[in-house]
């Protein structure tokens, strides 16, 4: 028998499981995270300790919790709040955070200790969204608190059976008035989850397994062969760290960072180098020309451009003689050079 003062977060998962079974609480999906068990434990076990909750709000929640705990009552009626509570327990941390955000509550990190708090908050929000709040009549809410494993509650509730088939879908198809709003968000949430899981390099294998197996309820949608990740990265589950021991980046992963920013920058710089060479060549050509001009001005006798020099010298001679034949100093009589 569990000690009521014991912190459920400190209990082991198997211990939580056994405690839940001892209290006739149907377990959630086998591979749920410990937090789910903790949440259930808090709900059901604490439901027996009504005195622990002092606030009125929490009394209401306790009433709900009482109903949740009473799995023996199988009522065919399914109230939407029942579905909510079921879903809240089954949400992963990320999904819980996303749903809180959707309802306008910017929640902080959801950890073992904060999870119960945020679950309660989400419940309150969901219940306040509902037009009819069967808070007092807890008996009607007993239905469908059961998780996917319990089939006894399916009396005349096809939706229940559908929802129980896949708890993940259940989370997203809450039977609330604004149901249509939730539908388009389904793919977003489902994409968010694999994105979070696959983008993170989580070396903790058990954690990954629980997430994977928790999501296998809807395998086709969540884990297609090529997951359409929002970020565009199609990473495999366990990609070794680049540059780690024995795994130099260049040889092992020629395609690995195809679009990393550094390589893109380098390619841009490389692309600019081509015109730079052209600029250098042009510069050299101009430098040569300038040098030639300089040499001409020096009137170097053994410069190859003799015609120019001759022309210049003839100009000088013609100037010495007089301004007679200035226009074209090339008098054949004066110039013995063959042109």
């Amino acid at each position: 028998m569990p000690v009521f003062e014991e912190d459920p977060a400190q209990l082991s998962k198997s211990r939580l499981k056994s405690d839940l079974v001892a209290h006739n609480v149907t377990l959630p999906t086998e591979k749920s995270k410990k937090d789910v068990y903790v949440g259930l434990y808090l709900k059901h076990i604490d439901a027996k300790n009504a005195a622990d909750f002092s606030s009125d709000e929490e009394d209401q929640v306790v009433n709900q919790g009482h109903v949740v705990a009473c799995h023996q009552e199988d009522t065919p009626k399914e109230k939407p709040s029942a579905v909510d509570m079921l879903d809240v327990n089954g949400l992963t941390d990320d999904e819980l955070k996303a749903s809180l955000l959707k309802h306008g509550l910017n929640a902080g990190p959801i950890v073992a200790s904060t999870r119960a708090l945020y679950e309660r908050r989400l419940l309150k929000i969901l219940q306040s969204n509902m037009p009819s709040e069967p808070t007092v009549n807890g008996a009607g809410d007993a239905n469908a608190y059961s998780d996917s494993e319990e089939e006894g509650d399916e009396e005349g509730k096809d939706e229940d059976s559908d929802s129980n088939d896949s708890r993940q879908e259940d989370i997203l198809t809450l039977e609330l008035p604004p149901e249509n709003d939730k539908q388009p968000e389904q793919p977003k949430w489902e994409l968010c989850t694999p994105k979070n899981e696959s983008a993170y390099y989580t070396p903790n294998a058990s954690y990954k397994q629980t997430v994977k197996e928790g999501l296998t309820v809807v395998p086709t949608r969540l884990y297609p062969s090529a997951v359409p990740i929002l970020t565009g990265i199609t990473a495999t589950c366990r990609r070794p760290i680049k540059g780690a021991a024995g795994r130099p980046v260049l040889y092992k992963y020629p395609d690995a960072p195809p679009t990393s920013p550094m390589t893109l920058e380098r390619r841009e710089v490389d692309a600019r180098l081509v015109p730079v060479y052209a600029q250098v060549l042009v510069f050299l050509a101009i430098a040569c020309l300038l040098y030639l001009v300089y040499a001409c001005m020096e009137e170097n006798p053994y410069h190859p451009l003799l015609p120019l020099l001759d022309g210049l010298s003839e100009a000088l001679e013609s100037q010495e003689e007089g301004p007679v034949g200035l226009a074209h100093p090339g008098d054949p009589a004066d110039t013995p050079v063959d042109l």
Binding site: D93, K97, A107, G108, P109, I110, V111, S113, N196, Y200, Y201, T202, P203, N204, Y207, I241
Partner: protein
Amino acid sequence: MSSTTQKHRDFVSEPMAKKKVTALAGIGDALGKRLEDKGFDKADKVLGHFLMLGKDEGRFKCWLKDTCGANSRQQDHCYRCLREWCDSFL
């Protein structure tokens, strides 16, 4: 004892105020982004979690690894940074 990095010294030298989580030693852009996605968008939230874990080295490092995939060096830097900050300011 290994020498401290500049980031460590910067963080430990003053109250963390509203510093982002990337100001922590050992937490760079990638890890910082992952922590922010989990809800730890400021360094003081990580501090809060650190204190909740009882400032325990093993638990904090384990949590850091699970949350953002930090390797042992990064875990160590972050842990020592926070511990020293706590020693100075708490």
